[in-house]
Amino acid sequence: MSMNPFCEIAVEEALRIKEAGRASEVVVVSMGGEQCVETIRTGLAMGADRGLHVITQDSSSLFPLAVAKLLQALVSSEQPRLLLLGKQAIDDDCNQTGQMVAGLLGWPQATFASKVSISDDKESVCVEREVDGGIETIQLQLPAVVTADLRLNTPRYATLPNIMKAKKKSIQRVTPEELNVVIGSDLEVLEVTEPPKRKAGVMVASVDELLDKLKNEARVF
């Protein structure tokens, strides 16, 4: 329910890694107001072990750098071996948080993952990434940051029994102050506008006119 689709894919991947015996615990994290509890519960209903809710007064001030700093603070207390995030949120489409937190932590990063394989010795992870030119395969030492892309997996449905079991799982609440992170307003949204409406096309009278327009106006050749 209302979980960012790329995040849902990340949760699914985490669950699969645990089911393959490569991880001992899956913790879902969400940051913002009370509505985060629902999102965390969805993750718990899918099968995550426990939840972490970073409570902030106002979700709209949570820009990627703030989220990255809060994640950095959580990582130092939780000590995870792998941070799995959705590649971007579908409200702001920033595609920055994963990259920023990797930078802050000094951890290797693999973004736009379409396949994730943890090594047998659990010391490294092999990731296939979707890049402009095709698929790039890289290997990272753990701990690492991976962001999930659309084709990584198809998330499972929560099941009725798991929805009910999720009620018993714990959600720990923590504030930015407790994490010693100051959320500044680094960014200010000046304006959000629609792109200009598509202009009507021009009817040409002959092939010669078409060629002329293609060459001189559209500059196709």
């Binding site: 329910m1 519960r41 209903a45 449905y157 929560a158 099941t159 009725l160 029994p161 929805i163 009910m164």
Partner: protein
């Protein structure tokens, strides 16, 4: 119709074509998610909202895209039903020790309505299967529960409920104690054995010929309610056979057949409950079954309302969308009101059943009668709002209308619902 009109009608159909109804269907689904939870958030528990989200998600992905094809092909979607069972929808009300989800009837009503939004016919079979599982859970002994329920709840096995006979429909369900019962299916004790021999036939059995397990009401004793017992018959038992699947107006994704018993030998271990308890078991099943069928009506009607509203808001005539005309607005508002009232009656009946209220059967009868009538009318109005397009199979509304038409008939006709209700009204408070 003039030739010119006919050809332009066909051209329009080619342009709008089959794709547009899929668009209508899916976009109706997503917009109704946001809207419908607002109508109910104050009265549903957090768990029920989660259950509904899960069922809605499943319905949108697994049922909505396929319902039309299943109806067209008379295809019983066994694998999708098993997927539903994997999520816990196979034995919702059963105890956890056999794999059930131990939900209550209000939870069930919410879930079945959400599933029926995607496809009424398939969801209706799921409710019947759940009813059979509940009866075995409640009336079965440990051996029966442990032997049957784990497989039934996962839908490794399918089940059917067999009460109606060719000459015994409403009469078998009559609750007037002085009436004689026309149940023709008999179960006599075999010589020198504790087995029973069953003879007779059942009609209109949902899941017939495909189901593995059949709950059969048969007469073991004298005429009267106390002479009926309930037996568990297994597909493959010698003498058990099935008629050819009926060619129905709706519910076409379910096989419906007669079930024929010719000297079927059934071990006494397969009797559910005590001898003579069969009628009480049958009626107990129907209370829940009526709430479930009414829930399916609500889900189907919600789909029809959503799709009609969406169509009407895009269809332009006389220079504007037809939703700008007051008669359309009033029609849609009345449909919404009738649906809301239906849903609340169903939820109330479910709550009464959960509470063990002595009026639960009466509430279930009222809710079933009201909701199935109101929701069929909503589907009919929705078809009218679609104009000529509503009459085409390219658009899904006609299938919902056909599916909902039978809900006023089965699980007790709406006429019998009035008989049941009035009997309760006669009782001293």
């Amino acid at each position: 119709m003039a030739l010119a009109t006919r050809s332009s009608f066909r051209t329009l159909k080619a342009i709008r074509g089959a794709h547009s109804f899929c668009k209508h269907a899916t976009s109706s689904g997503s917009s109704s998610d946001r809207v419908s939870s607002l109508w109910d958030e104050h009265r549903l528990t957090a768990d029920q909202l989660h259950f509904r989200a899960l069922a809605t998600d499943f319905a949108k992905k697994e049922l909505l895209p396929n319902g039309a094809q299943w109806d067209c092909d008379k295809y019983f979607p066994v694998e999708v039903l098993r997927k539903a069972a994997g999520l816990g929808f196979g034995g919702m009300f059963c105890a956890e020790d056999v794999g059930g989800s131990r939900l209550n009837r209000v939870d069930g009503a919410v879930i079945f309505e959400a599933l029926a939004y995607g496809d009424v016919s398939t969801t209706a079979y799921l409710t019947i299967h759940n009813m059979c599982c509940s009866l075995i859970d409640r009336y079965g002994n440990d051996q029966q529960r442990n032997h049957w329920l784990p497989k039934l709840i996962q839908m490794e096995f399918f089940s059917s409920y067999c009460l109606t006979e060719p000459s015994s429909g409403s009469d078998a369900a009559s609750l007037q104690a002085k009436n004689y019962y026309q149940l023709q299916t008999t179960a006599r004790q075999a010589h020198g054995s504790s087995d029973y021999i069953l003879n007779g036939s059942k009609a209109f059995i949902s899941g017939g010929s495909v189901s593995d397990l059949y709950l059969v009401m048969a007469r073991t004793g004298a005429l009267g309610p106390k002479g009926i017992s309930c037996f568990l018959l297994e597909k493959g038992m010698p003498g058990l056979s099935f008629g050819r699947p009926e060619d129905k107006l709706g519910w076409r994704s379910q096989p419906t057949t007669s079930v024929v018993m010719e000297e079927v030998r059934v071990p006494s271990a397969n009797m559910l409950g005590r001898e003579g308890q069969g009628f009480a078991i049958a009626m107990a099943g129907l209370d829940g079954g009526r709430i479930n069928i009414a829930s399916c009506s609500c889900g189907g009607a919600q789909f029809c309302l959503d799709t009609a509203q969406e169509y009407a808001s895009t269809r332009k005539q006389f220079g504007k969308a037809i939703t700008e005309f007051q008669s359309t607005q009033f029609k849609l508002a009345d449909m919404q009101t009738a649906l809301h009232a239906s849903r609340l009656m169903v939820s109330n009946a479910a709550a009464a059943l959960d509470a063990g209220s002595p009026k639960a059967s009466a509430c279930a009868a009222m809710a079933k009668r009201f909701a199935t009538d109101a929701c069929f009318n909503i589907a009919n109005d929705a078809l009218q709002l679609h104009g000529g397009y509503g009459y085409l199979k390219d658009y899904p509304v006609e299938r919902y209308l056909r599916d909902l038409r039978v809900h006023t008939i089965l699980e007790g006709t709406n006429e019998i619902m009035r008989v049941v209700l009035f009997r309760h009204m006669l009782q001293q408070p």
